[in-house]
Symmetry: C2
Subunit: 194 residues, 2 copies
Amino acid sequence: MPEAQSPTRKRIVDAATRLFYAEGIGRVSVDAVAEKAGLTKRTLYYHFKSKDDLIAAYLDGRDQPNLKRMAGWFEADQGGVDSKVEAIFANLAVAARHPKWKGCGFLRTAAELASMPGHPAVKVGSRHKSNFEAWLAGALSGHGIEEPEVVAREIVLLIDGSFSIMLIHRNPDYIEAAGRAAATLVRARTPDRD
Amino acid sequence: MPEAQSPTRKRIVDAATRLFYAEGIGRVSVDAVAEKAGLTKRTLYYHFKSKDDLIAAYLDGRDQPNLKRMAGWFEADQGGVDSKVEAIFANLAVAARHPKWKGCGFLRTAAELASMPGHPAVKVGSRHKSNFEAWLAGALSGHGIEEPEVVAREIVLLIDGSFSIMLIHRNPDYIEAAGRAAATLVRARTPDRD
DNA sequence: TTGTGTATATTCACTAGTCGGTATACTTAG
DNA sequence: CTAAGTATACCGACTAGTGAATATACACAA
């Protein structure tokens, strides 16, 4: 029985993360992951019972880092809540300009697995996106927004729309347009206090 | 040299469309497409020089039908422009409840090809999405909206966000939330005329 | 200290099947 | 007779997953 915190397991997940994100889960073989991790495929299968298992572990490992990154951008901005929201998009647009940027790993994996809705990796993705939406709703409340859950969901839709459309057009202007739309929606739910 | 309008070619594209949309381009083999079309792989390769070529033809064939469908929903709604926009999302939500619905073929293909940004199929997808955005901007203008191109782009982001997030959560409520957000954004750019 | 048992961790070599693509030959219509 | 179109059969490369042997490390008894 392999250890859950084994350093070997971590090396495998690290290798899988790099390859799966760069090429997509369907274009990366288990052999390639094993080679990148510097061990044999049989060892990989000692630590993971299947490729599907490994894919789920890959996404699971991205949950917290992604959340922290987004939260960091929101909290670092010194403006009002509309500015804080727009800052998420501005930082996303910067990241999207990096040549290694390939969109959102959760969404791309879900797209590749569209014919297998119950796949464990899709469930991990669903949980991650729900976590983010819940965090955002919490972050919005306390800023005088009327229905923070509604606005959080609208922002989530704009973020994921940005991710998707970037893969088609490769034009970060769309992310900035989404940021302005998000700020508009925030203000639409913020009662004037004059 | 194969004919561009050959009925055999059409049969191949029809078979490819069904399989690629249902399973994703990476999970469908050329053999499977040939079998579904009722001919051999060699015949398929007489009409298409590669699988990549076939993928591009598949998406190219979806351009006009998709545009007409969206335009039909917009035009059929009898309300104001905000209601017409929301009608697109309402109809999308209905479609998304069908068990065979697997999201947007253009976006899913772009996600699968994220590591090959110049792929011909991605270009076809980019053109399609631009066509839709341009049509929408045109449809919005003449309804007293201040910057129809800006609003069209915001709506496009919400539509593609709906497609993506549906593949993760499989919950059409998100599409309806996107529709309400889109209507809000339309009204935010429609000056009061009282 | 030495020897033995045991659980964890790793390797090599392999299976059975699929992949995109093609060489060659046949059919059929003009 | 020719050329477009279709079929059979095949290629080498790659696929996920496995069987059997082995290396390593530590526990405990003599």
